[in-house]
């Protein structure tokens, strides 16, 4: 069973290595191969879920541990001279994130098969994404601090290339900013980890978590928490360390944005749950009010920044600042419910924001812009399916009960209502109230987005026909197949009356089948449905039945905070 986790890391790595073979030069084959590899990884994670679901003690000698402890462990010597070990394992905290990573990567590949980003070099892109997957999954599985750091860093390089090679017009600057900023954060993180190592004398994360900071003086814990927290906060991102994020998200190609928002940000918050809070409880207690304060500032600040954005992609990037603020607020309460909230919020944000970036990518592909003013509204009329999906994703993201986004926010506020003993309760009540105001602002900017983009009547921007024709394979295909649709749509669009959208659609249906729309616009394609429907289903499932996730995380979270963990 322990081999399973090694396979999770090894399969994408071998896949990336295999791509160097010349056989993959043929166009399209590399993406198909990448899809197959990531599909295999997803299957392996599902196998890991199945193994995890077995009752404790039934998965052989590698499992075991108390309820909520590590399972499916692999512990091999790595660098014996430094006592570094290749130690992998999974518990309720990491398992959902591993599944999320595998799922999002797979869906990105499914999406790539028909919607490659501008910039060509598909083989390189597939290779990069597979290496990225190695780093992401490895980060969530590692149980040795240095191994954790290595995987944490592995992620940066492929993401740099994804932004720098396949990004938008300002991609170079954004990529450089991304890698410098996060590398700086990583350096601080490394210092913190080394402080822990120097004080505790071990890098084994299980042992460190069991010790709960015993043997480390308070001052050292605060110092280590400060350094580790700052390093993780860059990644999360926490206000005011967030400015790399809007640029990186805006310039990254669709798959890059999806993985950046869906997984990479979670590595920062995962670090809080796995490293900072369990290993340094006294440091956490000392700095939690600061963490909470910065978190709620991030919530309000992110929401306000969203309210004044013009570019949808940039707006969703800023919305991540707000949503991750709720995650950090959950951590700052230092309560089981708060950490549950953070973990739930992590997964929910990964699903919802992943979906949102997919959708915005699709919008950009069709309209040639993500600028709200130039989009011109009326998407529900022009592309009803895309508009409906965008509505769904925005509603999910604003935290509607019954969809996944709600539970993370609600539980974080509940945690802040009664934070851990020793934390100043009035202060956290203020945080709760501010966070509550943040939910209203969140609703405000998402509804503003929907109102501007999906509602109203589409009025074509002057340069629009050229833009639509010139963007992406889909646009080009639409031009080939949908000439009648286009002419009809444009003819109706010139008049600018209310029936323009409908008339164009009816004109477009007859000849072109799936390609039905106006002005070269195509509603959701089959491949896009395949990539998005799993996210939609999971968002609804987690929203209606939060127990699916909470039942997994709660034992692990209680093990973190429980009164004295059982030492095996």
């Amino acid at each position: 069973m322990g081999r399973l986790l090694i396979a999770l890391v090894a399969v994408p790595l071998l896949g990336a290595a295999a791509l160097t073979m010349p056989a993959f030069r043929t166009r399209g084959r590399a993406v198909a191969f990448g899809t197959a590899v990531s599909g295999l990884v997803l299957a392996l994670t599902l196998a890991a879920v199945a193994a995890f679901a077995l009752p404790y003690g039934q998965d052989g000698p590698t499992g075991g541990g108390p309820d909520g402890g590590m399972r499916l462990q692999t512990d091999l010597p790595w660098i014996p001279g430094l006592d570094l070990r290749f130690h992998l394992g999974v518990d309720g905290i990491s398992l959902p994130l591993v599944v999320l990573t595998a799922l999002l990567t797979f869906l990105c590949f499914v999406h790539l098969t028909r919607h490659p980003p501008a910039g060509g070099r598909q083989r390189a892109l597939v290779c990069t994404l597979l290496v990225l997957e190695v780093g992401m999954i490895g980060t969530f599985l590692a149980l040795d601090l240095l191994l954790f750091f290595v995987f944490f860093e592995v992620v940066l390089v492929p993401m740099y290339f994804v932004i720098a090679l396949w990004g938008g017009t300002e991609r170079r600057a954004a990529a450089v900013k991304f890698i410098l900023y996060t590398l700086l954060g990583s350096a601080v993180l490394l210092i913190g980890l080394l402080v822990v190592w120097a004080q505790a004398g071990t890098l084994d994360m299980v042992a460190l978590a069991e010790r709960r900071g015993a043997g480390m003086p308070r001052s050292a814990q605060i110092l280590a928490f400060l350094a580790i927290g700052a390093g993780l906060a860059v990644k999360t991102p926490m206000w005011p360390l967030h400015t790399w994020l809007p640029d990186a998200h805006t310039e990254a190609p669709t798959v890059g944005s999806v993985l950046l928002a869906g997984v990479l940000l979670k590595m920062g918050s995962y670090g809080f749950a796995r490293v900072a809070i369990p290993m340094l409880p006294e440091g956490a207690a000392a700095l939690a009010p600061w963490l909470g304060a910065l978190a709620v500032v991030g919530i309000i600040y992110g929401s306000l920044a969203c309210l004044a954005q013009r570019d949808i992609k940039r707006m969703i990037a800023y919305s991540s600042v707000g949503h991750m603020g709720f995650v950090l607020l959950g951590f700052a309460t230092l309560t089981p419910v708060g950490m549950n909230a953070a973990l739930f919020g992590n997964v929910a944000h990964g699903l919802i924001t992943g979906l949102l970036f997919f959708l915005v990518g699709a919008v950009k592909e069709r309209y040639g812009t993500a600028d709200m003013a130039r989009l011109g509204g009326g998407m529900l009329g022009r592309m009803p399916h895309l508009g409906s999906l965008l509505t769904f994703a925005c509603i999910a993201s604003l935290g509607l009960p019954g969809l996944a986004g709600f539970w993370g926010e609600m539980l974080a506020l509940l945690g802040a209502f009664r934070p851990a003993a020793g934390l100043p309760r009035p202060l956290f009540l203020v945080f709760m109230a501010v966070g509550g105001a943040g939910t209203v602002l969140t609703a405000a900017y998402f509804l503003r987005l929907l109102s501007r983009v999906t509602h109203g009547v589409h009025r074509a921007a002057p340069s629009e026909p050229e833009a639509a024709a010139g963007h992406g394979v889909v646009g080009a295909r639409a031009v080939e197949q949908g000439v009648p649709a286009r002419t009809a749509g444009e003819a109706a669009g010139i008049g600018g009356d209310e029936r323009a959208g409908d008339a164009g659609e009816i004109g477009g249906t007859g000849e072109t089948g799936q390609v039905g729309g106006t002005g070269g616009a195509v509603d959701v394609t089959a491949r896009e449905w395949a990539a998005w429907v799993p996210l939609v289903v999971l968002i609804v499932l987690l929203g209606l039945w939060p127990k699916t996730l909470l039942a997994v995380t709660t034992p692990a979270v209680q093990a973190v905070f429980g009164p004295g963990m059982v030492v095996p």
Binding site: T243, L400, F406, F417, L447, H455, D523
Partner: protein
């Protein structure tokens, strides 16, 4: 049994899912806009079948529950502290069931439902109005390409409201509570081509959400104090008064938002941008009822927090009169009804604020039969006290209540039901009128009684009920409300009572005005300019701007189609007769025993006075608007006292300005610091680079200097 309750909730939900996903399958090509006329009609038919079947099944199941002699669990101490509610003689006992318990790391959430008399009573209102609206919509939305999603959202909305009504856990209740908000958003914005509708939808959601945040915190406070989110546990818990006051005040925010009470009332009139059946369903009969329902559901808690009830009384007093005056000045028929909804909901809030008082003052209203029982001094509430096994700790109100009396919650729920019936009726009739006239504006109507005889007579019943004229239901329920307010005590009671009486008069005035302007007088040919154009206030704030008179459909001739008339006719029956059945529902013996005739006469005279003044004015000149009696106050009334303008100036615009400021600060300050650090690093490296200038002599000089330094240092150290 609990399975029946679950089924009542799930059926509309399943129909919504089926309608949303399945209506178009097989009826045409995939792609929402890409279908021909016939396939669109087929999808609409199928969606209508889904929606109506589910609504009808839910209605039948609810009636079956209501007609049972008792629900499963016996009433009494174990189940409901403070004795049973007033509904116990209607449907004693209750059912409950928990599906699962969700561990959160803090208090668990129990996914549970409970049904009792209060739930079933409110549930009847919800399913009946929902069914009527679904049937009505088939005719009203004929030819509408987006009918499938429209009917699905109504189904989803019905399901959410039923979840609120039957929830057994406060968090579950909150889930339904919020889903209603989003359904309201989706339905108000149904005709999203018009930006004004979109803005109204956004406004409705945001204003109610603002209240809901407080509501959620109130739930936290209650749950944490009680150690459980289950409604039964919360009602039974011993919560300190201070906590109780804080919690109920927070809950009140949500109630004010959903029930459109001051200061969060501004969304409701704008919500009239939605299709008229939606106004009937959401903004008259059900969603706005949720706030009143929740207070009734948690009434023992509110009784324990007297300051909260006083706040509620002030809110109600301001809201009922202000909204009634605003209704008097509106030209848009739907907005008249919207303001009247705010006003009537304020009546319910006022009844709730009145609390529960001893029987003495209310003997005339309560019949007293079978309700005599002695109450211990610590037993605050409920007629079913004779069992003597009621255990109720800690949260009693300061006063002592006991002998069979009409509680504020009973009067409120009574008025809720009768208002639900007559207001839904009024809106559906208004829909038929608008359908015919092609405009929402009353200045474009007139003389419609001959063209629309059925609508005329049913709407007359509705207006009579709204004014509180006997024998319509509103007479009885409004009388119950005013009697409760009259006999309450408390610091704001005189204010509340005065406002309630005054509002009766204004209600009579605006109802008469709307009735006369719509159905009497000279017929207005369409397209004629308004007789009295009002000065249009410049409206620069997009959030508050709603175009008046966004007409639904253009007139096509005579009376509305049959699918629209049937629901109207059916709703007219309870609107007319519900008052006679209430004594039976509340178990108060014979018909008419529930009326305090003395105060009823006063109400009636006041209402007729208001109506008479308007009639006299109208008789003088049938063309001119009787609203001119407001004189210089007319414009403020029509603008609803500029609350929207004030909010736009105080909240919306500063918020947007702040948002722009944040974006600027983010670019210049925070990101500026980041970029500045980059530039600083480059500048620093430029300085360091000066040393690396390629001049070998400089390098050698440096080398020699270094060597010399080391040698000197070594010499010093060694020596």
């Amino acid at each position: 049994m609990i399975a029946i309750v679950a089924l009542i909730i799930l059926l509309p939900f399943a129909a919504a899912v089926a309608g949303l996903l399945g209506a178009k399958v097989g009826t045409g090509r995939r792609g929402g806009g890409s279908r021909t006329e016939s396939s669109g009609a087929a999808a609409g038919r199928r969606a209508a079948w889904f929606a109506i079947t589910a609504a009808a099944a839910s209605a039948v199941l609810t009636l079956w529950l209501a007609l049972r002699p008792a629900l499963d669990l016996p009433t009494g101490a174990a189940s409901r502290p403070g004795g049973a509610g007033f509904w116990d003689s209607f449907l004693p006992g209750r059912v409950e069931g928990a599906l699962t318990l969700i561990e959160t790391g803090s208090l668990p959430i129990s996914v549970s439902l409970r049904g009792d008399g209060l739930s079933v009573l409110t549930g009847i209102l919800v399913v009946m109005v929902a069914l009527a609206v679904q049937v009505y919509s088939v005719g009203y939305m004929r030819g509408e390409p987006r009918y499938p999603s429209y009917s699905a959202f109504i189904g989803l909305f019905t399901s959410a409201m039923l979840l609120v009504v039957y929830a057994g856990d406060l968090i579950v209740l909150y889930v339904g509570w919020e889903i209603m908000g989003i359904c309201s958003y989706l339905l108000i914005g149904h005709w999203w081509e018009d930006r004004a509708n979109s803005r109204a939808a956004v406004k409705a959601f945001l204003v109610t959400r603002l209240g809901d945040v407080g509501f959620l915190f109130g739930i936290f406070t209650l749950g944490m104090a009680a150690g459980s989110f289950r409604i039964d546990d919360v009602l039974r818990a011993d919560i300190p008064t201070g906590t109780l006051i804080a919690a109920t005040l927070l809950l009140l925010m949500g109630v004010a938002g959903k029930s459109a009470q001051v200061p969060l009332q501004t969304w409701l009139p704008d919500a009239m941008a939605g299709p008229t059946p939606i106004s009937a369903l959401i903004h008259a009969a059900t969603m706005v009822a949720a706030g009143v329902f929740v207070v009734a559901r948690l009434y023992p808690l509110f009784l324990g927090a007297r300051p909260t009830l006083d706040v509620l009384a002030v809110i109600a007093a301001i809201g009922m009169l202000g909204a009634a005056l605003a209704a008097l000045a509106q030209d848009d028929l739907k907005r008249v009804l919207a303001y009247s909804t705010i006003s009537q909901l304020a009546y319910m809030a006022g009844a709730l604020a009145a609390g529960v008082r001893g029987a003495a003052g209310l003997a005339g209203l309560s019949g007293l039969s079978g309700l005599s029982g002695l109450s211990g001094p610590d037993v605050p509430y409920g007629p079913d006290l004779s069992e003597g096994d009621v255990v109720f700790g800690g949260i009693g109100p300061p006063g002592v209540h006991g002998l069979g009396e009409v509680g504020g919650d009973e009067a409120a729920i009574f008025h809720l039901l009768s208002h639900g019936a007559f207001k839904a009726l009024l809106f559906l009739c208004a829909g038929a009128v608008i359908h015919h006239a092609g405009s929402n504006l009353m200045s474009r109507m007139g003389g419609l009684r001959t063209a629309l005889p059925v609508t005329f007579w049913t709407m007359t019943i509705g207006f009579a009920a709204l004014m509180g004229l006997p024998p319509a239901s509103g007479f009885f329920s409004k009388n119950a409300v005013i009697s409760v307010i009259e006999d309450s005590d408390g610091v704001v009671q005189p204010f509340l009572y005065g406002s309630a009486l005054l509002t009766v008069g204004v209600t009579g005035a605006y109802a008469t005005r709307a009735w006369l302007r719509t159905f009497f007088g000279p017929a207005q040919p369409r397209g004629e300019p308004q007789p009295e154009p009002l000065p249009e206030e410049p409206r620069e704030e997009p959030l508050t701007e709603v175009l008046p008179g966004t007409a639904a459909h253009v007139s096509d001739g005579r009376e509305a189609p049959r699918s629209m008339l049937w629901p109207i006719g059916v709703l007219a029956v309870p609107a007319l007769l519900l008052g006679f059945t209430w004594p039976w529902v509340a178990g108060r013996g014979v018909m008419g025993s529930g009326v305090g005739w003395g105060s009823a006469m006063i109400d009636l005279v006041v209402a007729l006075l208001g109506a008479g003044i308007v009639y006299a004015l109208w008789r003088g000149d049938p063309v001119r608007d009787p609203a001119r009696l407001l004189g210089p106050f007319r414009v403020p009334c029509e603008r609803a006292f500029y609350v929207d303008t004030v909010y736009a100036a105080l909240v919306a615009r500063p918020m947007l300005r702040l948002a722009r400021g944040v974006v600027r600060a983010d670019e210049r300050v925070i990101d500026g610091a980041v970029r500045g650090s980059g530039r600083a690093a480059i500048g620093l490296s430029g300085v360091v680079r000066l040393v690396q200038n390629g001049n070998a002599q400089l390098y050698v000089t440096g080398l020699v200097a270094g060597l010399l330094l080391i040698a000197v240092a070594a010499a010093v150290v060694l020596a």
